[in-house]
Symmetry: D2
């Protein structure tokens, strides 16, 4: 749906009191085609945005309201961003779309996804930043999140919100599930290579490092400053929920079953994500070939940049921006290569990508509102 | 000189390889009315911007050139930002204005400043980010910088580039001397109060704290990560060059001689400046009166914000933005108050303020290109 | 009570699950004359020390028990360190001393403190690290801590545990109240000067900065890594509880009533405390005189060091050690001086000082177990 | 050579002005059997230790002297620690041993290493912390360090100073080459497993992360605080000099040729090293078997600790101590395991290990002077 230059997309934000919500507001408030109509906070309802995020206190955003206080039937919004805790969105999104006149209900399971989408009247679109709609396989979702999926019919029409892979589908989508931060950097680095069979599908090792904002604003001892600063450690070893998400997309690209190693680490910084990915090259393929393939694949992409040979990308190079930088090196082990992929976990890993999807869904230039240069130092 | 909406100010940047230069480029590249025509680097000439600042590598900026390689007579720029090391600009700026057809030379000392400005043909304007033109009193300059002033006639037409104080003068200026970062936060907090005699002019204590980018990108042992992280300390105690600069402006506001305490400290963070200023209230004046006076004074200002009673501003609230936040508290010592003033040392303390001045000098809305919301976390 | 070289002081630690408790254990485990008999944790009873503090997992410390599970009558300890939350110790300490055979009860209010101490049979000594026994004036305690004192008789025999000031009293004490971290650094810097009337008692401004461990291990949003890193701010402005504690000791030294400014700030580092103290010199006194007086006063002290003229102490110089470093500078404002005082808030500001007191109480060389050199980088 | 309890080892330190030198002094000054006789600094000769490292200013260490000013023939030391820049030690150590009466000279190449050791009169022992004597294969040294080895005969008697592997050889050594920090953590984790053939020798991937002190105190732009804080990146990708060192030891353990992946990263913290090592399990071997084998292997070791199943070691758990903590996890990829190994790069990775070697060389209990508990927070 293309917009006129002066038209505004009316948006609501659910779950604005977390770090993801903060960056959504930061970026949306400066987006020329967006007007924030409402923003909700789970535990901080009634407070102003200035109370919850003093750094955003001067932006024109309505006071935060409680999620329960929204009269969905009467709400006049075009798009809703859900930045709610995991396992919450499915129920909420179902309510949103239903109230907006969508006839999607669980009983429509038999209908093909396209039919469901076609039957949806009204045009509220939902962009979900949680994990609730990322996994297409309901049983995989249940195994990893410990509960049955609350909106299986919606899952069928949900589109995995990685623009570089699913641009066309996102443009047509009613419901977009924004990828996790770790999967974003990993899939961008690996999917084109698996697609073109330049690397082997086995023994892919993703050693991932992230700043602390990736853990969210939840008040846990392990996230206290004194627990984190001046130290680092791995976590979620061999059991992190981003693994099945990464595999879902890599399996698609590779056309075969895959199990990847995904090992995240906590690093003492606010923002930033850095993945060092170890791959086996296909026969006859060199690291230079891999770099060239990625460079070619992303040549026209506004947000993915493959750096020249011998250059190492650093997370500070993309701090606060929607960019992903990728570097490729030959490994000393013959037949292996090392791919470095870095993003800002809150921007390209979450809120920036959500807005990139919104731009696609509303026919705007994809980079609208996302052109901030990285902040350094 | 007002500009049409589509007109571009053609700018050059001298000294683009420091942190101040990086933030100038970051902001100017997204300024709708600016085109960067050239950028020089002292030690890094010949390198691309991507070499010196990989995080800016995707911006459209010409390759860096050496300062000596500029043919000033043939350069077609409207404004030149000087982000050169201290004690360098005076000579350079003299050269720039002379080459552009200005007839200002040292022999014109006898002429009144207004006459000199009027006699300047050509319309290159210079915005200097160094300390070279901040001090009006040449002997004070000499005492604190250990050298005679190299361009005393130019000093007469230089305008101290603090927009909230000198808006009209800046609009008419040919040469603007951007204030130091520490003085910016201190003067904004204190000048209105001295002007209105709400506080005493004696015994003002400015305990200042700054992130490490304030020290610049100079390669010194004391700025190494391992020397700084997990610790803090005072420096330049009772002998920092920003003291005379602060006094110059406060003396003007107060209308009497003054000596302030100014004690800077280094804090383990990249950006951010925080000043805790201890003042004596004039008879019959309360901290609430002080807060109200500052709030009123800055009510119409886009970048200076006085926070409500009992709220403490934090440097993270203004990280990456051109804002200054001020809070006022009553002291337990009767008759005293505590004023908290915080900015981003690279933005409102340097490059952002430089652009704010440029906007004024070219008749643009003052906030143009400076509306980024702070980055948190 | 002097100890033989091979004798061990049997100690118990109450509240071992906070940062103060961690540093107590870290230091006591390497103290040649200490054996840790028990350690309690409030919320973590039943866990091993390795669970609560993995970095201490290899030390020989009994598993943590719940405070309620201690049979005080049957406990065989010589000394008990209380690192409990504020407003808890008074009740607990009363119980400890009572159970150990002490006859101190609230009914003995009429008795002079010396009589109470003499009547105490048994020889359990208590070293309290909380604020519960620091303030001698019960009404001041009540005003600042919002509750009546629970053990006023004990307060009469409590000794303020700053060895450099109260060495003899501490040696004879049954109950020592360890000072707060901020007061330690401030009082060491100022008390000798007030005593000798080298500085004025009015207009003393203490601008204090501390690392985050000073806030303890309490799980609050404001202490999350992402709330703190890359920023700083003041807190407790004009209402911090350490102000009356500082004043209590300075009033004693000065022999006159006093109100000080005490303004703490949070700095993004784990450990470290830095106070910049602004004072007015008495007539005829110079900063050099002040420095000389402090150097002389502390010449024989093992843990307080006055640095040479023009040297600035840094918090990293005392990281992890029990040292306090002090520097003195002349202010640009005539008649004023600037005193810099820095400690490690967990060591000299808390646990190290507690052990220093224990050494005194048991007749050991004061430096026993406290001679670790600072850790840098 | 066993020492009486009150005997002191007289030591000299070459290159005391770097971070490694600082930690050597910090630990040696508190070692009960050591007396520091001299300490040299390359660029800071003539300064006191307090000038170069204020945090060590109160320790009793002679003033720093220049290396060239040492009269080796007349020096009365038992052991010399060399913490000189790489490619310097070989020449210096040759000089030291020669002056002390050792007859080792390059002409003795034909002699077997044992004969050379036997012919060394005098008993100065050298503990080198640089890379100069770590590689046994002179051609490998030349390829990776870009110069021919300056003391090949000495290389023959040099012992790789990893006590857990070469305890007996170290006890008898005249010259010990302390391992690099990264190799220490990697070899401790892998050597026993390769020895027992529990893991495959191919496809070993070592994703290493280190704090900035690992880069030393060299004054380079990339080590400035503002370049490092709030970001991370890989470096030395596929070409770091620690790779051949790691392979040298793993090849010995495995009994077969090997190439490992070794990919270091810079993390914004002062101290700490964390290696995530990806291995392929031998047929029939599980991660639990691997953990059990390491636990058994290191059961009697004072400094290597294998943590229980499901526990993740963190670098903060060993901060400032000589410990290495290792954890083992099963990988999601069948047949693979993940080993986590963490040390303090300056202690077990350098100076602590050097002292551990000294203890062995002089017949002291291995843990002497190395029992500091880690510092947290």
């Amino acid at each position: 749906m293309d917009m006129a230059e002066d038209q505004k997309i009316r948006v609501g934000i659910l779950g604005a009191s977390g770090y993801t919500g903060a960056d959504l507001i930061r970026l949306l408030c400066r987006h020329p085609n967006v007007e924030i109509v409402f923003a909700t906070a789970d535990r901080k309802a009634g407070q102003t945005l200035a109370d919850v995020f003093p750094h955003l206190g001067r932006l024109k955003v309505p006071d935060l309201i409680a999620l329960e206080d929204i009269e969905w039937a009467g709400v006049d919004v075009d798009a809703v961003f859900c930045a709610l805790p995991h396992a919450t969105s499915q129920r909420i999104v179902k309510g949103i779309l239903h109230a907006a006149g969508h006839t999607v209900v669980d009983e429509l399971i038999a209908e093909a996804p396209e039919d469901i989408a076609a039957s949806i009247r009204g045009d509220v679109k939902v962009i979900d930043l949680s994990a609730d709609f990322r996994l297409r396989d309901l049983s995989v979702y249940e195994r990893w999140y410990g509960k049955a999926h609350d909106a299986p019919a919606l899952q069928k029409i949900a589109v995995y919100g990685l623009p570089e892979l699913y641009r066309d589908e996102i443009k047509r989508a009613k419901l977009v599930a924004c990828p996790g931060c770790y999967p974003t950097a990993a899939i961008l680095a690996l999917a084109p290579l698996l697609q073109r069979k330049l690397i082997m599908a086995d023994d892919i090792i993703i050693d991932a490092k992230s700043g602390v904002s990736g853990a969210g604003r939840s008040i846990k001892e392990q996230n206290l400053f004194s627990e984190v600063a001046e130290g680092m450690h791995a976590y979620g070893v061999a059991n992190h929920r981003h693994a099945p998400e990464i595999e879902q997309e890599l399996v698609r690209a590779a056309g075969q079953a895959m199990t990847v190693n995904f090992t995240p680490h906590l690093v003492p910084m606010n923002r930033g994500e850095y993945e060092t990915i170890y791959v086996k090259l296909s026969a006859g393929v060199s690291a230079d070939d891999v770099r060239a393939a990625l460079a070619e694949r992303y040549d026209a992409e506004p947000f993915v940049h493959v750096v020249p040979k011998d250059m190492v990308p650093a997370s500070r190079h993309v701090r606060g921006s929607n960019d992903c930088m990728i570097g490729v090196f030959a490994d000393r082990i013959p037949g292996r290569a090392i791919i470095l992929s870095t993003i800002d976990n809150l921007v390209k890993g979450s809120s920036g990508q959500a807005i990139q999807n919104m731009n696609l869904m509303y026919g705007l230039p994809e980079v609208t509102g996302l052109e901030q240069a990285p902040l350094f130092p």
